[in-house]
Symmetry: C2
Subunit: 456 residues, 2 copies
């Protein structure tokens, strides 16, 4: 236990020292459950969200039917008409009395009416209803959504909530999307955006935050094909994390048991990851079969016809929904934890092995010495590259120190201009992970990065 805790502490310290993640409002003592991304963190998180948008919306894999998968995006407001949350069940179903466990290593929060059914996460009492080793609080009523008021007077009539998930914005726009585009079932609608949950018990760095960002897809299909699409999205999403660098043995897809499944759901896989802060895998994303529960709820509440008419079969039906719902902050934290590498033999004993697509800085350009025509070549390369990618130019300090700094920031490639560069027009490319160097022509630097970056 001591060593895993230490590794997480080192990661948190590096995140602060190198500008990945800061406590929100740190100069005022912070605020529990809220975090800020610094200069490195904002680029990393942008890259993760952009990779998701590119790989899921703009260029998804070919579908299980051998055809292009149709995807479009939306970007909905955080504050919506409160009836949305009455329809979804969040306004009522979630307002349950909660019990906290104060035991060190557990600190779970449970619905009071489920305390007999759920296992306590604290070992060894890992059996439903066995809380004899836990310090439990009294049941307390929580405001599960953040509540506010829109307009001059704060009364019931203008009460609003901050959305607790981005999904409902997609369902509420299902008809608008069908009417304004030429998508035909099967198709998906994607959204990236902030959501807020007040019942969250903040802990484990950014993993449990009260404000967080989601990357959600609602994929609408015919019920008869729904298990095929559920399998497609489950596999697609697992592959996505692996392709961007999460080791397969750290990723633990887990099928929900029949008891865990919502009553309307046929299947759900939680894609879990082995974070250093726990011996148990923790959820990154859920890929859920949601039946037609949500569209039906909005149809009932709004009185609007949300059914879909199939031109070819002349059939009218409420589509079945597959929902891959990912956390952008959790994905960011997972990629940070996976990238974090200790190697005492290197000038930088800590390095971040980010995939090139995710790395905040794609390349650094160094003149070996800051004279003899090397800076001129270096600056020209830098100015060309920065039109296309985030890159840095650094003419000072020893070359070893400059490499070390870039290793710690996770920069995959360092391009160095040396004596030979003036003679044959080549520069060295140093690979972050192996330290190996090769030479490429100075006119090929952009092409080199493009190849390494793959799709984008």
């Amino acid at each position: 236990m001591a060593t895993t805790a230490t590794k997480m502490e080192k990661i948190v310290a590096l995140c602060r020292r190198r500008g990945f993640i800061f406590q929100s409002s740190e100069i005022y003592g912070g605020i529990n459950g809220f975090w800020d991304y610094g200069p490195m963190g904002v680029e990393l998180k942008r890259n993760i969200k952009d990779a998701w948008w590119h790989d899921c919306v703009r260029n998804p894999p070919v579908g299980p039917d051998g055809r292009e998968v149709q995807m479009v995006g939306v970007d909905c407001s955080i504050i919506m008409n409160p009836k949305v949350w009455e329809a979804s069940g969040h306004a009522t179903g979630f307002a349950d009395p909660m019990i906290d466990c104060k035991t060190e290593g557990c600190k779970g929060r449970f619905r009071a009416d489920q305390i007999g059914d759920v296992p306590c996460p604290l070992k060894p009492s890992k059996h439903p209803g066995q809380f004899d080793k836990c310090q439990l609080t009294e049941a307390r009523q929580f405001n599960l959504m953040f509540e506010s008021h829109a307009g001059a007077i704060a009364d019931e009539a203008n009460k609003v909530w901050l959305r607790p998930e981005t999904a409902q914005g997609i369902f509420a726009n299902f008809k608008n999307v069908c009417d304004s585009t030429r998508v035909k079932i099967p198709f998906g609608i994607a959204q990236i955006g902030k959501a807020f949950r007040n019942e969250i018990n903040p802990r484990n760095f950014t993993f449990r935050s009260r404000e967080f960002e989601q990357m959600e897809i609602e994929f609408f299909c015919h019920d008869k094909d729904s298990m095929m699409w559920w399998e497609f999205w489950r596999d697609t999403r697992i592959n996505w994390y692996q392709n961007l660098g999460l080791a397969s043995d750290h990723l633990r897809p887990r099928n929900q048991t029949d008891k865990e499944l919502a009553h309307y759901s046929k299947a759900c896989t939680d894609i879990e990851y082995m974070f250093p802060f726990s011996d148990e895998p923790q959820e990154l994303e859920g890929v859920a079969h949601r039946g037609c529960f949500d569209l039906n709820a909005h149809k009932e509440k709004s009185g609007k016809d949300l059914s879909y008419f199939d031109d070819e079969t002349k059939e009218r039906f409420l589509p079945t929904v597959i929902e891959p719902s990912a956390g952008a902050d959790r994905a960011t934290l997972a990629f940070i934890c996976e990238a974090y590498t200790e190697d005492p033999s290197r000038p930088s004993p800590e390095l971040m092995k980010f995939h090139p697509r995710l790395a905040p800085i794609k390349a650094a350009v160094f003149p070996l010495v800051n004279k003899d025509g090397m800076p001129e070549i270096g600056e020209a390369i830098f100015r060309e590259l920065k039109k296309h990618y985030p890159v840095q130019y650094d003419p000072k300090a020893s070359i070893g120190k400059r490499y070390a700094r870039m290793d710690e920031a996770g920069t995959p490639f360092c391009l160095t201009i040396d004596g030979q560069s003036k003679e044959d027009g080549t520069v060295t490319v140093r690979d972050r992970d192996t330290g190996a160097q090769s030479r490429i022509d100075k006119t090929r630097c952009l092409e080199f990065l493009r190849e390494k970056m793959g799709a984008s």
Copy 2:
């Protein structure tokens, strides 16, 4: 007046019909002051934000001192420690009684204590304090920030606000950024994110919304250089809008008068734009000289030393701040209004002339007829392009109808595979704005788009 109103109505209708912008929660009757971006709108707004991030953070122009401009980003939480808003003055200074004008064509909202000093926007009574032609409400107390509570119990102790601007997150992180990066003054910190204002009187489509997104820069410099940097950012930002397509005669930079300027400010230019909904130019962005007002306020309130130490001059000082503060939704609306073009002589009487960098769809690929080997060539081109850019493939309907559909969505290029394609391997490229066609080799499509897209 009738024609301008009609043009705006047509734009609003096209935005809904083609999936640019929907009313939030439309199936529940909407919610005043909140809007959703549909499949086209989300791509357009993403492109605008990405262009801003690229042009301001990753690849800003060379500075007025002839050197690279140093820029980094942050991404802060929407809910911060409430002391941030006490320091900034938002918690106290903004909570003023407001008076609404109910007159058609005005509908302004004014601070009750300033009603004698401000002009009524309704012509012809455009003189300070002359409200004799207006229907004014009683003064009402507004909740100017959206208020909420973090945690189980909603009391004063856990009151929080939704940020009314992204700027304060930057100031609160100034020291963290200095400590975690190697930026030296002059440098800037940029942020894109949502903000919320409750006193907003929603009107003019998305122009005045209660939830909106900002793109803000706080540029920290030495006071002696501050006017030079203010001019640099003012010109850089005006050029940015022009380079992306806003006509120079629709852009109206306006220097604030001495009376308008905040007491700590030496200069401020409002970059205004002639929207079709008004005869008066409306603010897109403010480029303000803010002195060291904000850092000083946080220094006082937090008790933390936020001064900067200059290694070279050995001087310690609070930096002066230049703030280019833009609205992402307002920029999106301006680019939509500018792009909107009526041309009854074309198959699509309405078309959207978006700059290629901003267009939601960069290119469409059409086989002239859906047989004779044309679909195979078209699909191959489509599959190659979609790895890099949002593109669409459409094999059906008459070619004129397909062009028209793309014109309305603002797609700059249509690539058509015709009989000649099989013989010489070329395809036609049709230019949206001129309708002119030329031929390029089918292997050059990606290169062609890259050239047209410029930086990205």
